[in-house]
Amino acid sequence: MAGKALEIQSLTKKIKDKVIVDNVSLSIEKGEIFGLLGPNGAGKTTIIRMIVSLIGRTQGSVFVNGYNLDTHFKESMSEIGAIVENPEFYKYLSGYKNLRHYANMAKNKISDERIQEVIRVADLEEAIHQKVKTYSLGMRQRLGVAQALLHSPSLLILDEPTNGLDPQGIREFREYLRSITKEGISVLVSSHLLSEMQLMCDRYAIIEKGKLIHISSINQLNDQNQEVHTVMFEVSDLEMALELLSENNLGVDFKKVDQNQISVILDKDSIAAANRLLVKNNVDVYAIHTVTTTLEDRFLELTGKGSQEVKTSVHVN
């Protein structure tokens, strides 16, 4: 467990006979931004709420920075700073009093200097003594980050943090997350916004219907893209082209996309070889282009949401 910011083991939540979260295990390294990805209602929020013990676990254990949540509740919770969905505050109190309130609840005494520091980091110096009901959504979001960082946690948990933020706010938020992980803080972030997660996370897990269906690193995804591409060939004779490529073992996963296009998964060198082969055998090549695999494609592929596309194409091998 040492060295892991968060480790969850066979986390399960059942409500009556309905399984909300099914045997999910994962771990987060120190200084890593880990994304929890999935459609709305997949169980991301339930997983997060089980980690912060807002919801009871039917089964499974949680270790935060090595502390077992069951046996060392206070120690574990001290390591966590979280915003669960929209950050809600006592609107009739000022931002400062809200922070003071949470500071009073920390295990170790939090100095006034520390409070001033997080206020500065969250860029709320001017409005901090105004009542929270006067704050804009972006300000509340920043106050949310401030309260989560107040007690210098080692793990920051953010549930749908970019909900309601404008593009500028999302960008700032992303940069901000990057800067805090440099200090060794790990981040667990959930979202259904795939493109966001691709820009934000080091690694991600895909959750669907309560199950962990894929766990991967975004860098891995990018590396793959550099070596293996999904390539579209626009050619004069589809059947002939498919036959030639498969006979010569150039690429895998052949698909007919439409009447004059095929898609093949190839590495870079094979693209040239394939082109040569087709031209030599009198198959005219009108266009060759590579398709980058985005997280969204991977997500749709894994969750089966891309099935409409699959239906229109024909598998050869």
Partner: protein, 314 residues
């Protein structure tokens, strides 16, 4: 725990309403004082002669009166004679008379506001969504709930102190100040009983506190059961009014069924024990306290068990 309670009290006083409730109590006491001052008229200095005249008149009338009227007339005669025997002015007014009658009546407002604040205590955190941020701290749930419960009790006691201070100040400004131990007659269901002003007031206050605690506990339980603040407060006030209107029905039921005596409602107003020794025929103060104690334990156990296990999924 100290810090948790400090936080909760800070939140109670962060709401304007909590200050307004205190203000309302002060205003209610002031209005009560002014009304009593204007309506009651000046205390009569010739009360001995007048009471003697009433007694003489009653004695004469009693001989000629028909049989059915004799009973209440002799009771009234006894009452009037009592004033003379004990040398107590029946129309006396003083700061402590004011405390005993008007201020003791305004405790209804203390109960009402205590119930409102208590029912909002947990439910408002659910309504506002702040419960999520509150429970992800390194504190056990029971400790957070206990701090809320204690802070509501502290606020209610503050309301009570505001009431007593406002009553004493208003009474001392508007009326003559008399000795703490001045005797007076308290009217009860069983005729009148002689008592001392100051001690009687504080006896009523002490008898009032257990019922206040129980009502706070009931509304606090409702507060943890409902996610909606308005629903919790509404039901809390409903229970409060139910308890004060069910009295007649319970007396009727208790004559027929013994179990009716152990319903919570007749025991909620212990201040009657400041006036009489028994209620519902044979129920005494220790029995009432014991009954309340059993209910109290059940309510507290329910509240804490439910809150401890509850999934926060708002």
């Amino acid at each position: 725990m100290f810090m948790l309670i400090k936080n909760e009290i800070g939140k109670i006083f962060g709401k304007k309403a909590s200050w307004i409730y205190m203000l309302i109590i002060v205003i209610a006491v002031a209005i009560g004082g002014i009304l009593e001052d204007r309506i009651g008229g000046e205390p009569n200095n010739n009360w001995r002669e007048e009471t003697q005249a009433t007694v003489n008149q009653l004695q004469q009338d009693l001989e000629a009166a028909p049989e059915e009227e004799k009973e209440w007339m002799s009771a009234e005669l006894k009452r009037q004679q009592g004033f003379l025997d004990e040398n107590i002015n029946p129309n006396a007014k003083s700061n402590w008379h004011f405390m005993n009658v008007t201020v003791a009546g305004v405790t209804m407002l203390v109960t009402l506001f205590a119930v409102i604040v208590s029912s909002a205590s947990v439910s408002s955190e659910f309504s506002d969504g702040t419960i999520k941020q509150l429970l992800i701290r390194p504190h056990e749930r029971w400790a957070i709930l206990l701090s809320k419960y204690l802070s509501v009790i502290i606020y209610s006691l503050l309301l009570m102190i505001v009431l007593i201070l406002a009553g004493f100040v208003t009474g001392s400004i508007l009326f003559d100040s008399v000795d703490f131990n001045t005797k007076f007659f308290e009217n009860t269901l069983e005729g009148q009983r002689i008592a001392q002003l100051g001690p009687q007031f504080f006896l009523k206050t002490v008898y009032y506190l257990p019922s206040l605690l129980i009502l706070i506990t009931i509304s606090f339980m409702l507060s943890t059961l409902f996610k909606s603040q308005s629903l919790a407060v509404g039901i809390g006030i409903f229970v409060l009014f139910l308890s004060s209107t069910l009295g007649g029905l319970i007396v009727f039921l208790a004559e027929k069924y013994t179990w009716a005596k152990f319903l919570i409602f007749p025991h909620l107003d212990l201040t009657v024990y400041a006036l009489q020794d028994k209620i519902l025929g044979d129920v005494t103060l220790p029995i009432s306290l014991l009954t309340l104690g059993v209910y109290y334990i059940i309510f507290i156990a329910l509240t804490f068990t439910i809150f401890q296990k509850r999934d926060v999924s708002i």
